[in-house]
């Protein structure tokens, strides 16, 4: 990444905390003035090169969707910078410049049943970004553009006159993609784009997303809990645990030789479609609450390699062979011995 200027998005030290304080009245009546803080995202740094896909993967509550929401401006970050094509999206939520800039950034949501206005015809849904950003002046041009977009995502021109409820889940997700493409964005945040879909439909949408990326030179941030989907789509993968990126690097490297014990655990738990009946180490524990993250390395209560240092000292990210990983065991070389004990994948 050194000296690489063609980065569409560069996130640095992003932190997002939510306060879950009780209401003023409850605090007065109970006499307790406790304010709980959810550490949703803590000190996250990454960048995405033009035309590539970075995937953020992790279990529920790890903060991956919060990152997506901060980048798209739905949430304001607590601290840190989000540099999107030269403009810090985290600051200044008003202003024409920012608004014009926003058209380069779009989002596809998980649930195609909730993210489309049921009272609008598909044509109006897709036209919304064009109208909002005043991209085309005449009605005829807008209509021609809607038709192009519908054909691009594999629907037909007549579909513009129909309502969302007349479409299946996969078709609705195509409509979401058409809407996202309407403002000719450079960058699309895809938050679990296929997890509400059946597998045969998931394959259609993933193929469509890859085709569009090649054709239009799009950059994707893919948020997913499904490692197989991520492996299929992304050049780079960031693995998140309890608000932090624990490992980030080139997808092939991370998946073939995972360094962080959490990444290894995620890969080990994948159901084995090839039915090789491979041996799996027994698992323990739940994801802790982000209200009270464990001290030191947040993964230490579940980690087979944890030692005393892990319980009180937070590991700093280190770069080993292009992969950035935050783990004492990796830094001290304890992890590689454990890796030897791991059964080879075939």
């Amino acid at each position: 990444m050194l000296g690489r200027t063609d980065e569409v998005l560069s996130v640095s030290g992003l932190t997002k905390r939510f306060s879950t304080a009780n209401s003023v009245l409850t605090r007065m009546l109970s006499g307790k003035n406790r304010r709980h803080v959810v550490h949703a995202v803590e000190d996250v740094t990454f960048s995405i090169g033009r035309g590539s896909t970075l995937a953020l993967v992790g279990e529920s509550g790890c903060g991956k969707s919060t990152i997506a929401r901060c980048i798209t401006g739905i949430l304001a970050p607590t601290s840190g910078t989000i540099d999107f094509m030269g403009v810090d999206m985290g600051q200044a939520h008003s202003g024409r410049a920012l608004r014009a800039h926003r058209r380069h950034l779009q989002m596809i949501f998980q649930d195609p049943y909730a993210s489309l206005n049921p009272r609008w015809r598909v044509g109006r849904i897709i036209a919304e970004p064009i109208v909002t950003h005043r991209l085309l002046e005449s009605r005829a041009k807008v209509e021609a553009r809607i038709e192009d977009l519908l054909l691009l995502v594999g629907l037909s021109a007549q579909d513009a006159m129909r309502y969302p409820h007349q479409f299946s889940g996969g078709q609705r997700q195509r409509i979401s993609i058409a809407r996202a493409l309407a403002s000719e964005p450079d960058f699309i945040v895809c938050d679990e784009p296929t997890s509400a879909l059946d597998v045969s439909v998931q394959a259609q949408i993933l193929n469509l997303m890859r085709r569009l990326q090649e054709r239009l030179g799009l950059t994707y941030l893919l948020i997913s809990h499904n490692l197989a989907v991520v492996a299929h789509m992304a050049e780079r993968i960031g693995v998140m645990y309890l608000g932090r990126i624990v490992e980030i690097g080139e997808a092939g490297t991370v998946l073939a030789s995972p360094l962080h014990p959490y990444t290894r655990m995620l890969l080990d738990t994948l159901p084995d479609l090839e039915m090789r009946r491979r041996h799996r180490p027994p698992l323990k524990g739940d994801v802790p609450s982000p209200l009270a993250p464990p001290t030191g390395c947040a993964y230490h209560p579940r980690c087979p390699l944890a030692n005393v240092r892990c319980t009180h000292e937070r590991p700093q990210p280190i770069n080993t062979g292009g992969v950035v990983v935050a783990c004492h065991a990796v830094a001290e070389g304890r992890a590689s011995q454990a890796a030897m004990l791991r059964t080879p994948p075939s």
Binding site: E59, D198, Q204, R211, A228, L255, L273, M275, V287
Partner: protein, 323 residues
């Protein structure tokens, strides 16, 4: 192995104002004692409806229109509600997808377990409490005895699903229907719950009908698998045979459309279109409009399940290659 559950030519219909929808159509299968039968399919395939029909929880106007369900030598499909109620819980347990909606939020988990056990078994409160604590420990709930006093909202999703499994198994039933038991869970928790289901089924000799859309879960747990499409079983056989050398084009396409980590393809195989809605099921073989290798007869002639390579598949292609 001895057959425990036998479903014969089951047909479930939902009468509507305009038409009668057939959501389960001519479905037959057996579950042997202690066996895990997987039922897999995409949404709208009729897999959950089959499970709900077996435990007698179909919501009217949905009804069993034809066929027989025989459990341990007894007809279930014409049993009255009271007799079915005593059978459910005691002989047949159920685990559903969302653990939060299958537990009563107002009662402690100990209360729910004890109530279920004292209703169905001839034991005292005290024995039931001990049994409940032992069972919770068995499904992997730490500090089980203390957790009896916890309410469902105090537990994490994975812990709640363990409690639901404990409830399904608490009267030591012969048969459990598990409908998407791991779908709402994170991958690491899913792996733990799958492992636990497998262990409990082996140790108690309980047969499980595992309903899921996830081929990975099937590969991990099921002894045999039935693949459903548009209300019918289109392929059924030993899991390994069906998953590794599928005989029906739908199963084959389904397997190829699943992304796999160490097999990064340029693009995934995609099946055009989607599952037909129950009011518009195509004639002949319901899969023919999406089938890449359909024959002329497929659009009017419906194929029946026939033996191919150790499993059964409903496809004219297999008949064509045989003759």
């Amino acid at each position: 192995m001895k057959s425990l559950l036998s479903v014969r030519r089951l047909r479930v219909e939902i009468p509507t104002r305009s038409a009668t929808l057939v959501v389960v159509d001519d479905v037959s299968f057996e579950v042997a004692e202690g066996e895990i039968l997987g039922v897999v399919g995409e949404s709208g395939a009729g897999k959950s409806m089959t499970g709900i029909a077996i435990i007698g929880l179909l919501d009217p106007p949905a009804r069993i229109a034809a066929g027989e369900i025989i459990f341990a030598g007894r007809r279930l499909d014409n049993l009255d509600a009271e007799a079915m109620r005593t059978l459910r819980g005691r002989q047949i347990g159920a685990v559903f997808q969302d653990p939060l909606t299958s537990l009563n939020p107002l009662l402690t988990i100990g209360h729910q377990l004890v109530q279920t056990m004292t209703t169905h078994l001839d034991i005292s409160q005290r024995e039931a409490r001990q049994g409940a604590a032992a069972l919770l420990a068995e499904v992997g709930v730490p500090a089980a005895a203390e957790r009896l006093a916890a309410y469902p909202h105090e537990l994490s999703g994975g812990m709640r699903q363990r409690v639901v499994v404990a409830l399904a198994f608490c009267c030591n039933p012969k048969f459990v229907i598990a409908d998407e038991p791991t779908t709402a869970l994170d991958v690491s928790i899913q792996a733990q719950v799958m492992e636990m289901l497998r262990r409990i089924s082996r140790e108690h000799g309980t047969a499980i009908m595992l309903i899921t859309h996830d081929m990975g879960v099937i590969a991990e747990l099921a002894d045999r698998v039935a693949v459903m499409y548009a209300g019918r079983i289109i392929e059924i056989g030993p899991t390994r045979a069906v998953l590794k050398s599928p005989s029906h084009p739908y199963t084959r396409a389904l397997m190829a459309s699943i992304p796999i980590i160490d097999r990064r393809a340029a693009s995934l195989l995609q099946i055009e279109g989607s599952m037909p809605r129950p009011d518009a099921i195509p004639s002949g073989c319901a899969f023919h409009p999406r089938c890449p290798s359909r024959l002329a007869r497929c659009n009017h002639d419906r194929p029946e399940l026939a033996p191919v390579d150790g499993s059964l598949a409903a496809c004219w292609l297999n008949a064509a290659t045989r003759t």
